[in-house]
């Protein structure tokens, strides 16, 4: 391969390289890469067979489990003893790659535990302002023509620690772990509503779960008839119990809590029910004492996962800066990355396919010179929305009075920039920049 010296020229401050450098140079650059966890001590002795190469391996299990060396790749639990309050399990974005969240690592919020739903007895009722109230079994729904789509789901309270007055030293899992992305397969809700018929007076539907608190949320009919789905499958297998087994409402791009799990009832109504979670929980207070209601959208957002807090850089050299971007308003159109705290920016490469309302992986090659650096990403979506800086969010939405617990929710719907400071020893700190 012919060497093009220009690809090694920085395109932005502090060592950011052209995003196309890898595409042009292939293996040559890959070989020059440093890594976050590899050590350099390996090649001192002649190569020889390792013990696992000289004996037959283990029995293949009927349901695959990951290598025993990956046991540390787990969700963090806010309430592991199931005390009488909400449980949160956060996705370890810094230990994953690509755009699909494995089912066992998909984030979960359960307000009173995960119900043990018997799929043969579960029912979905659609009633209210319909021409014909209908009840569907899982077996019946499984016979309908299905669709698959990749969609992120994000809690309206994800990233809430970013409202802290001081940057909380915590991983991307702790800060942004209440969002995940999967391929969901199920029946378009519009197909079922075709069969019940819709009274023209219906402007909303109330979605309700079969969990202990019968969680309920009001959803505008426009969304229900747009891209809502009764999801039965998650990354090819039936939904995980924590993600709504055997069926959930999927509202691509909209506030996670509205994607009602263990869905058992849809009631078409004229006006919203003003349920607990819409009237109280996901209505963020503004600095003037008013509060936003019906936020719905998980607005355009990105954060760097590699490197990030907790991942140490093994000395100066080449690294790939990588992260996740997504928006409720369609496809990600552009992600810019900075290594100097936002003074200069380089355009990141977007991993194809770039899908609407789905995680988009962005990557930017970087040569770390061993000096202090502050890494940031900013995303734009195809509707023209730009991810705000943290300062812009704080100016509009305010910030907490102090430093809340990292598992706390001082407010909701933060979609601003996250900044990681790389120190001389390779440690990564969370900073506001």
């Amino acid at each position: 391969m012919k060497t093009d010296p220009s690809r090694w020229q920085p395109v932005a401050g502090n060592g950011l390289l052209d995003r196309r450098a890898f595409l042009r140079s292939g293996a040559a650059v890959a070989a020059a890469m440093s890594a976050y966890t590899l050590t350099r001590a390996a090649a001192a002795e002649p190569l020889a067979d390792d013990p696992w190469s000289t004996v037959p391996g283990a029995t293949v299990p009927d349901y695959g489990v990951r290598s025993r060396f990956e046991k540390n790749v787990v969700r963090t639990l806010s309430n592991p003893k199931a005390e009488p309050r909400t449980q949160h399990a956060r996705t370890p974005h810094h230990l994953l790659h690509g755009t699909t969240t494995p089912n066992g690592l998909h984030f979960v919020i359960s307000h009173a535990g995960d119900p043990d739903v018997d799929p043969d007895r579960h029912r979905l009722v659609i009633h209210g302002l319909v021409k014909r109230p209908l009840v569907f079994t899982l077996e019946a729904l499984a016979r309908y023509p299905m669709v698959s789509r990749v969609s992120f789901v994000e809690c309206g309270g994800n990233s809430a620690p970013m409202f802290s007055r001081e940057p909380i030293q915590a991983s991307v899992q702790a800060l942004h772990g209440l969002c995940s992305c999967a391929e969901w397969t199920g029946v378009p809700l519009s197909v079922l509503l075709d069969e019940t018929g819709i009274d023209p007076k219906a402007k909303w539907l109330i979605a309700e779960g079969a969990d202990a608190p019968a969680l309920s949320r009001s959803v505008p009919m426009t969304k229900a008839l747009d891209d809502a789905m009764i999801a039965l499958y998650q990354n090819g297998e039936r939904l995980m119990p924590g993600n709504g087994y055997p069926m959930r409402l999927l509202l691509p791009g909209w506030e996670g809590n509205m994607n009602v799990k263990w869905l058992r009832r849809l009631k078409l109504v004229e006006a919203p029910a003003m349920s607990y979670y819409e009237a109280r929980t996901y209505a963020p207070i503004l600095p003037n004492g008013k509060a936003y209601q019906f936020f719905f959208l998980q607005e355009v957002k990105s954060f760097i996962t590699h490197p990030s807090f907790g991942l140490k850089l093994n000395g100066p050299g080449f690294y790939e800066i990588s992260g996740i971007a997504y928006s409720a308003s369609g496809r990600i159109s552009k992600v810019m990355v900075s290594a100097d705290g936002g003074s200069t920016w380089a355009q990141a490469a977007l991993q194809e396919p770039v899908l609407s309302k789905a995680f988009t992986r962005f990557r930017a090659p970087w040569r770390w010179d061993g000096g202090p650096a502050v890494l940031q990403s900013r995303a734009w979506d195809e509707a023209g929305n730009a991810q705000p800086t943290r300062a812009q969010i704080v100016a509009q939405r305010g910030q907490a009075r102090g430093v809340p617990p990292v598992t706390g929710f001082p407010s909701q719907h933060y979609n601003g920039v996250t900044s990681w400071a790389v120190e001389r020893d390779g440690e990564v700190k969370h900073v506001y920049a």
Binding site: S216, T222, A279, I285, G289, F296, G398
Partner: protein, 177 residues
């Protein structure tokens, strides 16, 4: 979104004729059901009172039930325990992280009834009678001085309780409704 295609119409019509199903479109695998069959699940309460059941209760009745079934989490006199206080609350201008309470935040009284009935007590949801839910709602509203100590809550009176923060909201994305 629709799966309908003109080419399928004749086929669907044939199915209607052959099976006598009531639907001209789609697989038609939902089973019709009567409102009476849905009643036990149909627990939605609307802000105008639609859905509120018969019955009623007073703050005094609610105080007794509260002590038995609620105080363990929400504390004596609803002032907070391992879970949130149900009485009081600071002005929302004290900060964006001001704890949201029934008195300082909730826009509709009907949400109190709806949430207690569907989700409380945490260990035994939907174990309370409608009269008990009315009484607990009355007790909490009275402790917050939103109704009088002798006011009974029922399907007529509850929706008329005006909550202090009723007009405190801005719809974030009105074009999505």
């Amino acid at each position: 979104m629709s799966t309908r295609k003109p080419a399928n119409c004749a086929c669907a019509l044939a199915l209607v004729l052959a099976w006598g199903v009531a639907f001209a479109e789609g697989p038609g695998l939902g089973k019709p059901l009567e409102p009476a069959e849905i009643a036990a699940w149909d627990i939605s309460i609307m802000p105008d009172g639609t859905g509120l059941p018969p019955g009623g209760g007073t703050p005094a009745q609610g105080e007794h039930i509260y002590a038995q079934k609620c105080a363990v989490c929400h504390g004596e006199n609803a002032k907070g325990g391992v879970n949130a206080a149900l009485v009081g609350g600071r002005a929302l201008t004290s900060g964006i992280d001001t704890p949201k309470t029934i008195a300082n935040f909730w826009p509709y009284s009907t949400t109190v009834f709806d949430f207690i009935r569907r989700a409380m007590p945490w260990q035994q949801p939907r174990s309370l009678t409608d009269n008990e839910v009315y009484a607990l709602t009355a007790y909490i509203l009275a402790e917050n001085k939103l109704i009088g100590q002798d006011d009974s809550m029922n399907a007529e009176t509850l929706p008329k309780v005006r909550m202090p923060n009723r007009d405190g909201f801005i719809i974030r994305f009105p074009d999505k409704i």
